[in-house]
């Protein structure tokens, strides 16, 4: 009996212990499961958080308004008819055609990233084929400090960079004798206040100029991306707006650099260029007065060139050119009649003197009379009558027959719009 009771107690105890152990195990398992679930959840949460953080970071790169693409540029087309007469007794040469400047589609693609970076690319389609007017990137480093690199209009004078677009220009053609255009390089620019005045700077280092190797007569051409592209050119313009109403801007430009580009014949030859420009725009009731002017000097060092009639001989000349133009346009902006208000009269006179005794020596004058009708602020239809008088100053001994003086009269009709 005692043994029975003992066995019973033992069984009960064993069952009790097993029960407690089972419960403990169950509780532990449940707790472990719960912990596992919490860990998994935490892990899931951290993955989700990381994903969200990554997406937020990604989204921050594409905030509305921070990167944009705009197409501007211009298109121009027109018709020109001209007649050239010379004093050598030959028959007048007549031509009627779309001119190079009269048939152009140049969309400018602007793309900015945030407020610091701007890309500008302007391909150009015209009678000459396809080209590029501008391909540069600008970095707005400080409020009035912009770094630029690429292919751009060199900062020399005012016309080529600011006024050459047909929808901005006041007559159908460019002034004669502009010495520079686009080049590859990098630069720095900006505009700054100066009390009641304002000034601006535009400086660049470019691949520069070289004596044209194809004609070898002392004329300058751009190196562009030529094989050597040596003798970097330093170029810059400083502008001053002396009046607080911004009506007047005067500018001075300089450009200097060697022109040999690896050709030892011209190893010590340098080109020095200077320009002075003026821009005055003022509402003088009831008309808007617009005056533009630029004067350029090009000095190339002394060099000898191959005689075109006898390759065993050489010749030289003072390789100095000057050019300049003055332009006045008047628009009756306060007229009560819309048609009259949209008209603008323009007059331009230019002169271009190339080196005397060279094979391209001439004193040329350019006179333009223009009438513009502004359909809206960026669309114009214009007519221009132009007279070019050219008096030869070549060394006649370099030619087999005398080089005559010429006179060209041309009539242009042109339509231009900013895209």
């Amino acid at each position: 009996m005692e043994n029975y009771i003992w066995n019973k107690r033992k069984r009960v105890s064993t069952v009790g212990i097993l029960t407690v152990a089972t419960w403990c195990l169950v509780f532990n398992l449940a707790d472990a499961q719960q912990m596992l679930t919490r860990e998994e959840q935490a892990k899931k949460d951290s993955v989700t958080d990381a994903r969200i953080a990554m997406l937020e970071k990604h989204a921050a790169l594409h905030k509305p308004g921070l990167d944009h693409f705009v197409v501007v540029g211009l298109t121009t087309f027109g018709y020109a008819s001209g007649k050239t007469t010379s004093n050598d007794g030959s028959a007048p040469l007549k031509a009627s055609a779309f001119g190079t400047d009269s048939y152009e589609f140049s969309p400018m693609l602007l793309w900015r990233q945030g407020k610091k970076v701007l890309l500008e690319f302007e391909p150009s389609f015209n009678n000459d084929g396809v080209g590029v007017n501008w391909a540069a990137i600008s970095y707005f480093a400080k409020p009035n400090l912009i770094f630029r690199g690429g292919y751009f209009v060199v900062p020399f004078g005012m016309y080529t960079k600011k006024l050459a677009a047909a929808w901005i220009n006041k007559v159908a053609t460019d002034p004669i004798g502009l010495p520079t255009a686009q080049d590859y390089g990098f630069g720095v620019s900006g505009g700054l206040p100066l009390g009641s005045m304002k000034w601006n700077y535009d400086l660049a280092v470019t691949n520069g100029l070289t004596i044209d190797p194809t004609v070898n007569n002392g004329t300058l051409t751009n190196v562009n991306l030529g094989a050597a592209a040596r003798n970097k050119t330093f170029v810059g313009r400083l502008g001053l707006l002396p009046f607080s109403n911004n009506s007047l801007e005067i500018g001075v430009s300089g450009m200097t650099g060697g022109v040999s580009n690896g050709n030892m014949t011209y190893a010590d030859v340098r080109a020095n260029l200077y320009a002075f420009d003026l821009n005055y725009v003022k509402n003088l009731s009831p008309v808007l007065i617009n005056v533009k002017s630029q004067y350029n000097v090009v000095d190339v060092g002394t060099a000898t060139y191959v005689n075109p009639l006898d390759a065993t001989k050489s010749y030289t000349f003072n390789n100095s050119s000057t050019s300049g133009y003055g332009q006045l346009s008047i628009r009756p902006t306060e007229s009560q009649i819309d048609f009259i208000k949209n008209l603008e009269l323009a007059f331009r006179y230019g002169q271009y003197n190339t080196p005397k005794n060279s094979v391209w020596g001439a004193n040329t004058t350019q006179t333009d009379y223009g009438l513009n009708y502004w359909i809206n602020w960026r669309t114009v239809v214009r007519v221009t009558y132009e007279v070019l008088n050219s008096k030869s100053t070549v060394d006649q001994s370099l030619f087999t027959s005398p080089v005559p003086n010429t006179k060209t009269q041309a009539f242009h009709i042109q339509f231009s719009i900013q895209l």
Binding site: H68, V72, E120, K162, S244
Partner: protein
């Protein structure tokens, strides 16, 4: 001797240019009259310097931001002028 003289002149010119440039940049602040100009006034004064004043409705607000940067590189207006002109054009659309 001549080379030394040229070097000396070049050195003095460079220092002189640097000093003048530093003074000029240091004094680059707008007068109160200029600083208080409105965006509309700056739009009228600066744009017509090269071309006709653009109509505000010609581009969207975001496009004016881009064009403002483009014009700053071309016309070399100050950043303050650019911001005021763009704000005016966006508001006047």
């Amino acid at each position: 001797m001549k080379k030394l003289l040229i070097n000396k002149i070049g050195f003095i010119s460079t220092i002189g240019f640097a000093v003048v440039t530093a003074f000029t940049i240091a004094s680059c602040v707008a007068s109160q009259k200029v600083a208080s100009k409105s965006g509309a006034q700056l739009w009228a004064e600066n744009c017509q310097h090269c071309h006709n004043t653009p109509a505000p409705g010609s581009f969207s607000g975001d496009q004016w931001e881009t064009i403002g940067m483009h014009m700053q590189t071309r016309a070399l207006i100050t950043e303050s002028e650019r911001n005021k002109i763009v704000e005016f054009l966006q508001a006047a659309r």
